[in-house]
Symmetry: none
Subunit: 140 residues, 2 copies
């Protein structure tokens, strides 16, 4: 038929193909992918399906998309832990308890707490920021 998805949905098959091209270097890091209409022609799929495939790659951070410009392969992406230096930064400081933290720790608002902040980066871009709050109070 025209649109049966045996086994895998088409957008997934297309995403797999594009992912392969990126990871194999056929589409080089930083290079623009073919336009949506070009992919529409190549895979003979509707634009919606193509967009769905690209959305998958975007979620995987494998490509980035800019309106009016196109989607380009994200420059160099490492799986797992980078072998080089640490991609995390940590720092510690004291901050006054906001009302919610104050309630949780059963202290007054404004009482200083220890805040440890970790910054997770990938290729320089901040993926997430983690802040851990603990009371200063007597050890243990």
């Amino acid at each position: 038929m025209l649109t049966p998805h045996y086994g895998q949905p088409r957008y997934r098959v297309i995403a797999d193909e594009l992912r392969e091209r990126i990871e194999s270097g056929t589409i080089q890091p930083g290079a623009l992918l073919p336009t949506e209409s070009a992919l529409t022609a190549e895979f003979r799929a509707s634009r919606g399906t193509i967009r769905q495939a690209i959305a998958m790659l975007r979620d995987e951070r494998l490509v980035a998309t800019e309106r009016g410009r196109g989607s380009y392969a994200t420059p160099k992406r490492q799986q797992g832990w980078p072998e080089g230096g640490s991609a995390m930064e940590t720092r510690q400081r004291q901050v006054p308890a906001d009302p919610e933290l104050a309630a949780l720790f059963a202290v007054e608002v404004g009482v200083p707490l220890i805040e440890q902040q970790c910054i997770a980066r990938t290729d320089g871009a901040v993926e997430a920021v983690v802040r851990t709050y603990r009371p200063l109070r007597a050890m243990r």
Copy 2:
């Protein structure tokens, strides 16, 4: 016109409305959301637009969707950790980026971020509060 997206796109407006219902308890945790066709009727939007709105909430882990069943408000944070000595509570919300987070994520101050908060307790006492911040991820 019928479908111009001045200002905010419709799917975003709809997502905001549904998010509000969930966070306000109008839609209780674990309860099923209205079906896509019901939402289609209520918001007088196409099913694709409704699905796009729900996809946003799914990305925010605010709802989970099962084929043939529906989408339900996420009841609890099933942290992949079995019951041990200490109890954890988790919750999620959106908060505006403070200047520091804004700088780290390279967004404007006030732009909404996803904040996941874990509370680590031991014997009822709060040991630590961990807040993880991530960007909402534009597009989609």
